[in-house]
Symmetry: C2
Subunit: 212 residues, 2 copies
């Protein structure tokens, strides 16, 4: 887990955002509040009024900034993707090779989930609320990850494998579930320890060690 992508395509952003400072502040408040509410109560349990109340603005204000409930949700998913990719790139930047990057990536991912519990839940719920956003999220991720693997294979840091797409999805799945288990459900276990054990599996596999 860890890669980088180029510039975001900026998907039909708000028809030219807020014009004034006040507007930008309100927008940010709404986004933050929405992330928090969606993340803790879930999409369907969250009422627009929950969001506006938390943001400290009137109900109607919401519709000044968003066309619909789903629109904020999608915006949050996209935000989250960019944020996560950025965090992972940072944290794996100074790995000496891909194997080390994998370990660092898993750890960084776990810590990211722990420190963004709410937003992370939003991404997962996107699978049902905004499937296209969800697919974009993972496809973008997968594409970058695939490239990392290909380059690492060229450098001889990992074995070439038969199917990078498959490997990438398996790896993303592993991290994702570790994120659920050790990030969302139980964050009492040391992240470095989990990452160490998990990356050992990812790197060396289940097979018995050759006798030395």
């Amino acid at each position: 887990m860890s890669q980088h992508s180029g510039s975001e395509p900026a998907p039909v952003e708000e028809r030219s955002g807020p014009k004034t400072e006040r507007g930008r502040r309100t927008l940010r408040r709404l986004l933050d509040a929405a992330g928090e509410e969606f993340g803790t109560r879930g999409y369907h349990e969250t009422a627009i009024s929950n969001i506006t109340t938390r943001a400290g603005v009137g109900l109607g204000t919401f519709y000044v900034y968003f066309k619909s409930k789903e629109e904020v949700f999608r915006a949050l998913v996209a935000d989250m993707g960019a944020l996560l990719r950025h965090a992972l790139t940072e944290r794996t930047r100074d790995a000496h090779d891909r194997l080390e990057a994998e370990r660092l990536g898993i750890q960084a991912y776990l810590e990211f989930v722990r420190s963004h519990k709410a937003l992370y839940r939003v991404v997962m719920e996107a699978q049902f609320v905004a499937p296209e956003a969800y697919r974009d999220y993972y496809n973008t991720f997968a594409a970058a990850y695939r490239q990392q693997l290909a380059q690492a294979a060229d450098r001889g840091e990992i074995n070439p494998g038969q199917d990078d797409e498959g490997r990438v999805w398996a790896l993303m799945g592993a991290s994702s579930f570790l994120g659920i288990r050790y990030g969302s459900w139980d964050d009492s276990v040391d992240s470095a320890t989990v990452a160490e054990a998990a990356s050992d599996l990812m790197i060396n596999g289940l097979a018995p060690r050759a006798k030395k």
Copy 2:
């Protein structure tokens, strides 16, 4: 991916099921219809009337068999868990060792998802609709899986590892995501091929092969 569990605890089943044949048939129809509707439209998009219409019964009939919308949903999740565990046990029964069982398990899992698309979606949505049911589902799964790994390690078929809980979640995650990618989204790729590539990763890891 693959394991077995003992007897299901039968969670507070319908207060003594239907008494007559007619009743049992209606119940089954409702369950099937609910699985299909929840699986294709999703929990929130599904109205009870969708279910009863598909089942070919009156709206009120639903409440003869279930206390609420959520109750059917939970019943479906539990059903699915038992069904999947059973399928995996069957399909990995004649593996010669755990490594082979892993490959067979991944393949069986993929095929299971492909042939139960709707129900599979229900399980995933349970994460948000009925979190306890979802946790039960995976914890039950993980417990059995962990045991398989421990036994295999004793037999020397896999390396002992540092943390079986972590390994199990990583493995479940890998299969789960492969299920999404190659089961739900795109089932044109041969399942044996995917399983082959994925199990190679799970078994041998990313590290470069030792020179021969």
